[in-house]
Amino acid sequence: MQIIQPHYHAIARTAQDYERMAMSGVVAVAEPAFWAGFDRLYPETFIDYFRQISEFEPTRAAQYGIRHFCWVAVNPKEAENPLLTREVLRHFPEFFAKPTVLGVGETGLHKSTKNECESLEAHVDMAMKHGQLVLIHTPHLADKAHGTKTVLEVLAGMNVDRERIWIDHVEEQTIRPCLDAGYWVGFTLYPITKCSPKRAVDMLEKYGTERILVNSSADWGPSDPFTLQECILEYRRRGHSLQEAIEVFHNNPCRFLGQNPKFDIQPIRVETADVAHA
């Protein structure tokens, strides 16, 4: 089965992960810009990071037959430095012109501070003005419900194309308002701290598969790119068909990411041979 991993922090992972992903059917990954584990001080550090994910990382993925796309953003955890955020944002358009950059992300909220909200608004505004997709991070654990509500409030005050915005890391307590408001949502599967493969399948069964993306994130913390395959196995084990799995784990990423024409992988449909007429 062909799989698209729509949220994957490749620079934090090894070549062996690419190799094993390729062997398990992954045909493309999309890498949002990310927190480095410490707050960066200089705009140039971000620029080089964006060069790494938009120029170098696609060549590493290509060695395993995997297409690599990416997003640019100042991470919400670094939004407390508005001057830095403004300076980095100024460089976004030069990256929008690159062949594998799909949009702005992951922007969003961490502690839902005033500076974070202003940074989120500036990122979304920049994306909308340049016709880019948006990937929004929502906070984890105890901050999630409040942070997601605040994200929705910030977006409600803006003129945005909701179908081009993906609100990520939703869980059982946050999925409904995001879907009801017309956004795409993402389930992020982590071994411990986010959604689990089984809970993701529960939500797919409850809410259907429309406007839902499933990803592993897989960064430098405790995470595992293969939670995505674990989720596919759970989905299939509960009796959902191969085509239904393809719709969720391949075609939905094609539908959302394909709104940017640079993402040219098409939805697929399996056909069964008619043996009687062969």
């Binding site: 411990i192 069964e205 405790p222």
Partner: protein
Amino acid sequence: MDSGGDGVNVTAPRRVGGSALAFGLLHAMLTAAQVAENYFLESRHMLLEVAAHFDRYDAAIAREDAHRGNGDAAAARKLAILREALAIVADPAPRQERTVSLLELFARP
């Protein structure tokens, strides 16, 4: 993502008497605060999985009720055992280790 690398905080060695081995063991053991902190997210994760299991069961019952009007008695009994297990886990002053009580519960004919 989540911040990684939240390792155990190692406190300064404190000699309490006894052998060097005992000293080493005492030094290596976690404080109550460390136990609460270090395993919180893991337990949170496992509880969410259990809650999802119950929700999944209720959703399946609702689907089946629409067609047949009843559930399965053996399945209901399994869930009843889990409810009993959760009460044992939540007991703040158990008469024996909770793990022992759970293993006895799950071994019951």
